[in-house]
């Protein structure tokens, strides 16, 4: 399988390569390195162009995209209901961009489309790194905090816990990220359990891996669902 990644930093990309490999059970061929976006909403802005570039100019099978949720609405199973689209949920938005962009593309390089792998790190990828290390950190804890109006931690606090400073250098950030994902890769199911935003990415990747070809319709994500981006 040929995988491209669109991420927000070299540290994120380094960690995602390990996590994608762990989910697939073997290292895929990472066809393009260094596709980068400048955070949200830039990811959603450049995503159509990135998809078209990969579709027409490369033989990439799947594009993995992971963004931080920040303070946005967290994707829940309710959002997967048929016809549902939450305009403030980044998962819903990125899936919609994939649908809208790929549905009009002609076949190229022997495949119909570049397939989708979307993950949302709630509230930031540092929370994933703390999975299994800090039981207080999980997507459920964040949602619970959002509902109570009292977030259990802030993004700077998560960075401090992972990097030991809120101003890590890039090599230090990459080093810490790789150290944590090296721990997580032995059992990515724990990460999937605590962070459904990662589980969604893992599901996308496993589905592509086991059944190459376009992903069949999922509730609320099928092509033609009446959301504002279709």
């Amino acid at each position: 399988m040929k995988v491209a990644l669109l991420s927000e930093s070299p540290a994120d990309e380094a960690a995602l390569r390990v996590l994608v490999t762990a989910v697939l059970g073997h290292p895929p061929h990472f066809v393009t390195s260094g596709l980068r976006a400048r955070g949200w909403p830039n990811v959603a802005q450049v995503l159509p162009a990135v998809i078209r570039h990969l579709h027409f100019n490369t033989d990439t099978d799947v594009l993995g995209v992971v963004v931080d949720a920040d303070d946005s609405v967290v994707h829940t199973s309710n959002h997967d209901a048929p016809g549902y689209f939450h305009p403030n949920c980044r998962m819903c938005q990125l899936r919609a961009v994939f649908r809208q962009t790929t549905k009009r593309l002609p076949a190229a390089h022997g495949r119909n489309r570049v397939l989708r792998g979307v993950g949302i790190a709630v509230p930031a990828i540092e929370a994933w790194y703390l999975c299994g290390r800090d039981p207080q950190v999980s997507e459920a804890a964040w949602i619970d905090g959002q509902e109570r109006g009292q977030p259990p931690y802030t993004r700077p606090e998560l960075k401090l816990r992972v990097y030991g400073t809120d101003r890590p250098s890039l090599p230090h950030e990459i080093g810490c990220a790789l150290r944590e994902v090296a721990r997580l890769r032995t059992d990515p199911r724990r990460l999937e359990n605590d962070f459904p935003g990662f589980a969604a990415l893992a599901r996308d990747l496993r589905h592509i891996h086991t059944a190459p070809g376009p992903i069949p319709a999922q509730p609320g994500t099928a092509a033609g669902v009446s959301d504002p981006h279709s």
Partner: protein, 338 residues
């Protein structure tokens, strides 16, 4: 550390003040006072090296109106140090309209001699790639000149006096630019030194043939890995010549100076004042908006504002990146349309 600077009648800075932290990135349109801020900090450093603090010549009460007018219209800049919050170091233009004077308010000769060396330990940079690419006399390499013109000598001096710092600088440069294999220095018979970067395939790129970005990056690392950095470092246009994706490395190099503990270093922090016109560089301060100073131009006057003082900043950051918000004009700090 200088905690704040207040301006009166200084060029476009008619009546404004700015609080400073360990790291400060100043953004704003041309002519909005960014360079003026740096100039007065460097001027204070100069005065601290040479001048004694005292009372400026004040026109007598029966002096001509023109002299009294001059006193009222004369530029005055007040500096407050974090360590001496109750004292203002005033820089006042004298009646001859050419010389500046330093006055401590309240007067304290003992304190002045105490803070003089701290204020004097200041360096300012407007790096020039053409100057940096030239060979330099081996002897002039203690500190980087304001245009970076003695970069070769500084590297040679660092290699000799502080091999560990030179090794760390080299390792960092090669990490950032993996196409290179080593940083090399050569001393000529005339006592001048030059540097070059050897490519992984063994070809040598001498400084004169290096890209501007490489030279700026190397100079930035020479500052960041200086074993004897100043207490205050000002640098203009930090993004100059650097690819947007490399700007993170520039920010990290400057953080190494201002927040040494974050890099595992045990030395006093260097207060950094830097300017930029790059929205991409600004994007890197989303987590630390308190480090961003906006200089706002209103007609012929300008004033400073801390980005973190904006109450609507969290909402704005949900809508887009800091750089995009700045470019859009929502944050201010943009030129007037023609």
């Amino acid at each position: 550390m200088i905690a704040s600077v207040a301006f009166r009648n200084f060029r476009a800075l008619r009546a404004t003040s700015v609080a400073l932290g360990p790291f400060n990135i100043v953004i704003g349109p041309n002519g909005s006072g960014k360079t003026s801020l740096i100039e007065v900090l460097l001027r204070l450093g100069e005065l601290a090296r040479h001048a004694t603090a005292g009372a400026p010549p004040v026109p007598a009460a029966d002096a001509p109106a023109s002299a009294r007018h001059h006193r009222d219209a004369a530029p005055e800049i007040g500096f407050v140090l974090a360590s001496q919050p109750g004292v203002v170091v005033r820089m006042i233009r004298g009646a001859d309209r050419r010389r500046d004077h330093v006055v401590l308010d309240p007067p304290d000769g003992h304190l002045w001699s105490e803070i003089q060396p701290l204020l004097a330990d200041t360096r300012g940079y407007v790096l020039d790639h053409a100057a940096m690419a030239r060979t330099a006399p081996r002897r002039g390499g203690m500190h980087l000149n304001s245009d970076g013109g003695n970069l070769a000598a500084v590297l040679a001096g660092m290699r000799q006096r502080s091999p560990a710092s030179f090794s760390a600088l080299t390792a960092e440069m090669l990490r950032i630019t993996p196409e290179f294999h080593s940083l090399e220095l050569a001393e000529h018979a005339d006592g001048r030194v030059e540097f070059g970067l050897r490519l992984a395939d063994d070809g040598l790129v001498p400084a004169a043939e290096m890209s501007q970005g490489m030279l700026y990056l190397l100079a930035m690392l020479a500052l960041a890995f200086d074993p004897n950095p100043p207490r205050l470092l000002c640098i203009e246009d930090v993004d100059r010549g650097i690819h947007p994706r490399m700007l993170r490395e520039v920010r990290d190099a400057l953080y190494r100076l201002s927040h040494p503990q974050a890099s595992g270093l045990r030395r006093a922090p260097v207060q950094v004042i830097a300017t930029t016109h790059s929205p991409y560089f600004l994007d890197l301060f989303r987590e630390h908006p308190e480090e961003v100073i906006l200089s706002q131009k209103q007609g012929r006057a300008a004033r400073f504002e801390r980005l973190s003082d904006r109450p609507d900043l969290p909402e704005l950051l949900r809508e887009g990146s800091l750089g995009d918000m700045w470019y859009s004009g929502i944050l201010g700090g943009v030129p007037d349309d023609a």
